[in-house]
């Protein structure tokens, strides 16, 4: 995909996120929108996957460690054709395959159930360990929130990944700087993030998580690193794309009402039209 096509696709993913969370009357739009670009890049450019064969053995794996941003992942999966886009309005409804947090048994394309913070990275490490042990060539990706770095298990997993030289593991941190109770510094600062991962034996790459050129060069670089795991730390804007949600912690876990939904969709439509005129 060209950069423009990726931008258009990411805009569709954002519309789908806002629509799903509005329909559910709950959910986590802020962190879904901050990661919309990386979800798009992963599912349309980076991952070796096949929507027609979601469980193919040699597929790359993705674990959403920050599981509460499931709407973002679901939107990318639907956009990529793993299931109908119409399903997005069933998010969090009784009987829907789209659970509040990812459930691998229900949703096509999910490699792991997640949602309890700190655990997804360990599961991804397990997948990478299995690939190394049994000589499989697939790569494993996992997306963490910056607040999630406060979970001790993240560092248990990081220590192990580096000790076992899991260079088939790519950890991504969505550094939108906000968590439920406020900024991550106010709550319990995990900064400096690159230095911490470096000390744990990771190759670190810092980028703007909304720039597709930087996303491409980061993921390309990650694949060249041998003998150690890689972390891509993305500076992002929580709520990116919907101006009244941007950089506002109160949109971490609340849904737009009808009026706010209309305003958000109008803004995203307009952004989409602007991209079409490029």
């Amino acid at each position: 995909m060209t950069k423009l096509e990726l931008q258009k696709t990411a805009n569709e993913v954002r519309k789908s996120i806002v629509t799903a969370v509005h329909s559910a009357k709950s959910g986590h739009p802020g962190g879904s929108l901050s990661a919309a670009d990386v979800f798009t890049y992963l599912y349309f450019e980076e991952l070796n996957i096949d929507p027609k064969d979601p469980k193919k053995a040699d597929r790359d794996r993705f674990v959403l460690s920050k599981g509460h941003t499931a709407p973002g992942l679901y939107a990318a999966l639907a956009e990529r054709g793993f299931f109908p886009k119409e399903d997005m309005t069933t998010l969090r409804h009784i009987g829907s395959h789209l659970q509040g947090h990812p459930c691998m048994q229900h949703t096509p394309g999910l490699d792991m159930s997640s949602g309890s913070l700190g655990q997804g990275i360990s599961a991804a490490v397990g997948m990478a360990l299995s690939a190394k042990t049994f000589g499989d060539s697939y790569r494993v990706y996992t997306l963490l929130g910056d607040g999630e770095l406060q979970e001790g298990q993240v560092w248990e997993a990081a220590m192990f990944a580096s000790a076992k030289k899991l260079d088939n593991l790519c950890v991504i941190v969505d550094n939108n700087n906000l968590q439920i109770d406020g900024t991550i510094e106010e709550v319990n600062s995990p900064y400096p993030i690159p230095e911490k991962f470096e000390a744990f034996g990771f190759h670190t790459i810092s980028i703007d998580g909304h720039d597709f050129d930087q996303l491409k060069s980061a993921f390309d670089e990650a694949k060249t690193i041998k003998g150690q795991p890689v972390v891509i730390i993305m500076k992002t804007i929580k709520g990116k794309g919907v101006s009244f949600m941007e950089n506002n912690a109160s949109w971490h876990g609340s849904a737009p009402n009808d009026e706010q939904y209309a305003a958000a969709m109008a803004e995203l439509e307009k952004a989409g039209e602007a991209l079409c005129q490029k």
């Binding site: 459930c103 309890s116 397990g126 360990l129 499989d136 220590m159 192990f160």
Partner: protein, 312 residues
């Protein structure tokens, strides 16, 4: 009479893992710095390329095992019961149980027979914790023969299994030649008509000793070995309760939430029967030689016999 052979079920676990490693190239073992104690070290020695020490980080180990299982391999992960079921409970619940992944948890040093290490390491709560997880199979073998058979069966079964092993050497009473293990099937070791003794783990042997003593008093006790606490062999428990009218449960575990509770859950709904639950009575225990502790907390043959007499 020759001396009865005694083997700790953790030893059986290590040996069974090694045998499994030879048979099945997809088995991988994880431990958390206790390979010497849990006996996964036996597997490590034979298959170092399929053994991974996670260090002292049980929660990470449990979620790693879940990740390994998603790739179609069979991870066995081990620590002491206190840490496997206790510390890592939420990881077992959310990363292993919820997606129903094919992870085998080999938890050793369960119960008071840990001995001298004392209360911090004596897990009397693991069965209760694991029972609350939907789809979790819980197996607490009674001797070496049963423990090795249980490990093999757990590997063949697809889904999460919690295997509970002990530190203390216990008598080997099952016959290797004739013994058959089936997940979820209890075993009647002795038929009787006055009282049913339902036991698990090292308490099965105590129950058999107690039944002998009861027989000398003219009391006919039926002894059932429940190696699989979940799913419980409800039919067998119900049939015996209907026959004897009185049930005693015996376990090296808290009387809250363990085998006794599982038996009461079935009986209260389907055939209300007087039940006496023998086990650890809502207390932390203490340091001491394992066998002495089992005696002090009245879970040896004499203790079980006396408590049944008090009940009848």
């Amino acid at each position: 009479m020759s001396e009865v052979k005694k083997i700790a079920t953790r030893e059986s676990y290590g040996n069974a893992l090694k045998a499994l490693g030879e048979e099945n190239p997809n088995v991988l073992v994880l431990d958390a710095d206790l390979a010497g104690a849990t006996k996964t070290g036996v597997f490590k020695k034979a298959f170092p390329e399929r053994f991974f020490d996670c260090g002292i980080a049980e929660c990470n180990m449990m979620s790693i095992a879940a990740g390994v299982a998603t790739t179609g391999k069979i991870p066995f992960c081990s620590s002491f019961a206190m840490f496997a079921a206790g510390r890592a409970f939420e990881q077992v619940r959310n990363a292993v149980g919820y997606p129903h992944l094919n992870v085998k948890i080999g938890a050793t040093h369960a119960g008071i027979s840990v001995g001298e290490d004392g209360a911090t390491h004596q897990c009397n709560e693991d069965i209760a914790l694991m029972r609350t997880i939907p789809g979790m199979v819980i197996i607490n073998p009674a001797d070496d023969v049963e423990a090795r058979a249980a490990v093999k069966a757990a590997a063949e079964y697809v889904g999460p299994v919690y295997l509970r092993f002990g530190r203390m050497a216990v008598p080997v009473f099952n016959d290797e030649e004739t013994y058959k293990f089936e997940i979820g099937k209890g075993i009647v070791l002795r038929e009787g008509k006055d009282v049913t003794i339902v036991a698990t783990g090292l308490c099965v042997n105590s129950a058999m000793e107690a039944a002998e003593k009861l027989a000398a008093d003219g009391i006919s006790a039926e002894v059932i070995n429940i190696h699989t606490i979940k799913p419980l062999d409800e039919e067998l428990v119900l049939a015996s309760a209907k026959k004897t009218g009185k049930v005693v449960t015996v376990e090296e575990h808290s009387v809250i939430g363990g085998l006794g509770s599982a038996v009461c859950d079935v009986l209260s709904e389907k055939h209300p029967t007087p039940v006496k639950k023998l086990g650890i009575n809502d207390t932390y225990c203490e340091s001491g030689p394992a066998a002495k502790l089992v005696e002090k907390y009245r879970l040896d043959g004499t203790g079980v016999y006396e408590q049944i007499k008090e009940f009848l």
